[in-house]
């Protein structure tokens, strides 16, 4: 009986966490896809490519959200067993003492999954994500064939009737910075060693800027996109695991490493609180206000931690010792506050 009840709790605990994780990570994923598509005015044939690429970034998106997802998962589990009155039966047969080892194992398991994702999975996937993202940007794969428009940032807009590979046909183009308007039979995007060229063939060009007012007819006109160099792969914080971050020469990276260490402790505290939440029961009482309060305290703690990271990066006098003292005091305070609320 006790064994079945234990399995039941574990199963439902992970079920709710997984549902919440899928819902919110799914929403973030979709919003990222839509964001990229909208920014680049593109859609349709690139959608799978963008979806595939942004999918690779999801493991690194998960880490900061895990404590919140665990909290929401435990709110839901509590609500489920409370509404079906299972909580009364469970409390009768399983005391907190009997469940202590099970609870510790649960936290350990979540901690291991989190560590695995934080140190290995997200790092490897993020590397692949950045490479794919650069491939898309550098090959200028984003465009709007269906709307017959092609835009390169705030530099050039090309309106065309037909596109085959990297060549647009029957075009009208605007070069913004130079107030140029071009009408030509075709334009080809040429990838040179270090930047992009637009090669216009058979057309005419009108320039109306401060330095030049002219109209020219050309057989071939090459416009070099000087500000559009190949974007190089910049190594950002998500490319490194905690150990690599801590030993990084740049201060911001080291600070991010300390933030990652804090996140482990944050997760443990939230995990402990979440287990208290699951079995919280006061007869004929709505738990929403208590749970909301705990959720906002945890949210505030994360915002405060972000502020401390900001101080570490920007304030000279704020050292790493202060960071840990402040954060650990905060964590202890939150834990005891939550215990008091959930007594």
């Amino acid at each position: 009986m006790v064994g079945i009840a234990r399995s039941y709790i574990i199963y439902n605990y992970f079920k709710y966490i997984l549902i919440i994780l899928l819902v919110f990570i799914g929403l973030i994923w979709l919003s990222q896809i839509i964001r990229i598509i909208e920014f680049q005015y593109s859609i349709s044939n690139q959608i799978l490519e963008i979806a595939g690429t942004t999918l690779l970034a999801l493991p690194s998106f998960i880490n900061p959200l895990v404590p919140f997802l665990i909290l929401i998962g435990s709110f839901m589990l509590n609500s489920k067993i409370k509404n079906s009155s299972e909580i009364i039966i469970l409390k009768q047969y399983l005391s907190y003492e009997k469940l202590r080892i099970l609870f510790q194992l649960l936290i350990l398991l979540i901690f291991l999954i989190f560590t695995l994702n934080n140190e290995i999975i997200s790092k490897n996937f993020y590397e692949k994500y950045k490479i794919k993202e650069l491939e898309i940007r550098n090959n200028l794969k984003l465009g709007t064939p269906a709307q017959k428009e092609f835009h390169i940032d705030d530099i050039v807009s090309i309106f065309f009737t037909k596109k085959i590979d990297n060549t647009f046909y029957d075009i009208e183009a605007i070069i913004y910075g130079q107030n140029q308007f071009i009408v030509s039979n075709s334009v080809e995007i040429e990838l040179s060693k270090s930047n992009f060229n637009l090669v216009f063939l058979d057309g005419e060009r009108l320039t109306l800027n401060d330095n030049q007012k002219s109209k020219t007819i050309f057989d071939k006109f090459t416009y070099v996109l000087e500000s559009k160099n190949y974007e190089e792969l910049l190594m950002d914080k998500d490319h490194y695991n905690t150990f690599e971050l801590i030993s990084h020469p740049e201060k911001e990276f080291r600070n991010h490493g300390h933030n990652k260490i804090f996140q482990y402790f944050f997760l443990i505290v939230v995990g402990l609180i979440s287990l208290k939440i699951i079995f919280f029961y006061v007869n004929k009482m709505n738990n929403l206000s208590r749970f909301s309060f705990i959720f906002f305290v945890i949210l505030l703690a994360q915002i405060l931690n972000s502020y401390l990271i900001y101080l570490l990066d920007n304030a000279q006098k704020f050292s790493i010792v202060y960071y840990y003292i402040f954060n650990f005091t905060l964590l202890l305070a939150i834990y005891f506050l939550a215990r008091k609320i959930l007594k």
Binding site: D154, I174, L206, Y310
Partner: protein
């Protein structure tokens, strides 16, 4: 009436809970992403808050689905769903949620505009100069096309700094105008001086000339960066009509699934229902984004028919 009010109250409670939780999650996600920016912490908080709102504008339908999910779970756990289904018929239930449905359909239609507005706020705040500060009006008529480009260099100042105009006829540039001395009077855009290319000649014009009527209104109401006016009224009216129907039927379908008889049963296959809702949700999200070169109207009409069929299929079994 009491039951209707109870349901509406429950729905708004669920909407509030989902909205707050979703906002908190998106806020943390944005905050951590923005921490690397070279801005003050207050600015980072503000940008993260805007980012979180923007995620809502990208996919507003998720709030409706999650809220409905929460309310149904709640009603089912207290066996209230059976009572509601017993006492209120489906038509009345749909009538109760109709105002909420209309509200969400309105948000869906306006979501691009909301998102563009938030993006503009973000740009103004971070002082970055980008494509948002430029609008291009393109009008085509047979072999003729006209490009009117308005640039606003200073994003905080509402004034337009440069006006460019290019006229093309039979693949030849017929006319070009540039003006850097502009002013807005009674919502109309005027130029004090301009350089004009016409008949293979360049000339200066020092006249106070009206360039664009009702400019302020057009600038603020058109969220798009490129506005094409070769679409006739019939076409744009059709688009709006199609869009209203498309979103309304989507929300109706979702509501029908959540309020169906099947969900009252204890042994219902949740995965089946979840998959169906997920498919409809993704379909609704992707279809308006797909632009096909040919048969666009047919394509969009077909997508609408799909929702109408889903709606009537579900209605039939109720």
């Amino acid at each position: 009436m009491i039951l209707s009010l109870y349901l509406i109250k429950k729905f708004f409670n669920a909407l509030l809970v989902c909205g707050v939780i979703g906002y908190a999650i998106f806020f943390i996600f944005s905050l951590i992403g923005n921490l690397g920016e070279k801005l003050s912490f207050n600015s980072i908080l503000y940008l993260s808050a805007l980012n979180s709102f923007q995620i809502f504008t990208f996919i507003p339908s998720h709030l409706y689905i999650l809220s409905f999910c929460l309310i149904i779970m709640h009603l089912k756990s207290k066996n209230e769903l059976i009572i509601i289904k017993e006492y209120i018929e489906l038509k009345k239930l749909l009538l109760i949620i109709f105002p909420i449905l209309i509200l969400f359909a309105f948000v869906e239609i306006k979501k691009d505009s909301f998102s563009a507005h938030i993006e503009k706020m973000k740009t103004n705040f971070s002082n970055s100069k980008n494509f948002e500060n430029r609008k291009i009006f393109i009008s085509t008529n047979g072999n003729k096309s006209k490009y009117s480009i308005f640039s606003k260099v200073d994003s905080k100042n509402e004034m337009i700094n440069q006006y460019l105009e290019f006229d093309v006829e039979n693949k030849n540039i017929k006319r070009g105008v540039v003006s850097n001395s502009l002013k807005i009077q009674n919502n109309n855009l005027f130029s004090n001086e301009s350089i004009i290319y016409e008949n293979n000649n360049f000339r200066y014009e020092f006249l106070n000339k009206r360039l664009f009527d009702d400019f302020t209104n057009i600038w603020s109401t058109n969220a798009e960066k490129i506005i094409k006016n070769n679409e006739n009224n019939k076409y744009s009216n059709y688009k709006i009509f199609q869009s209203i129907l498309f979103h309304s039927f989507f929300y109706l379908c979702i509501s029908m699934i959540f309020l169906s008889k099947k969900l009252v049963k204890r042994n219902i296959n949740i995965i089946k229902v979840f998959s169906l809702i997920l498919l409809i949700f993704l379909y609704h999200l992707l279809i308006p984004k797909i632009m096909v070169n040919n048969f666009y109207f047919f394509f969009q009409s077909l997508s609408l028919i799909v929702f109408i069929l889903i709606f009537f299929k579900n209605k039939k079994y109720e």
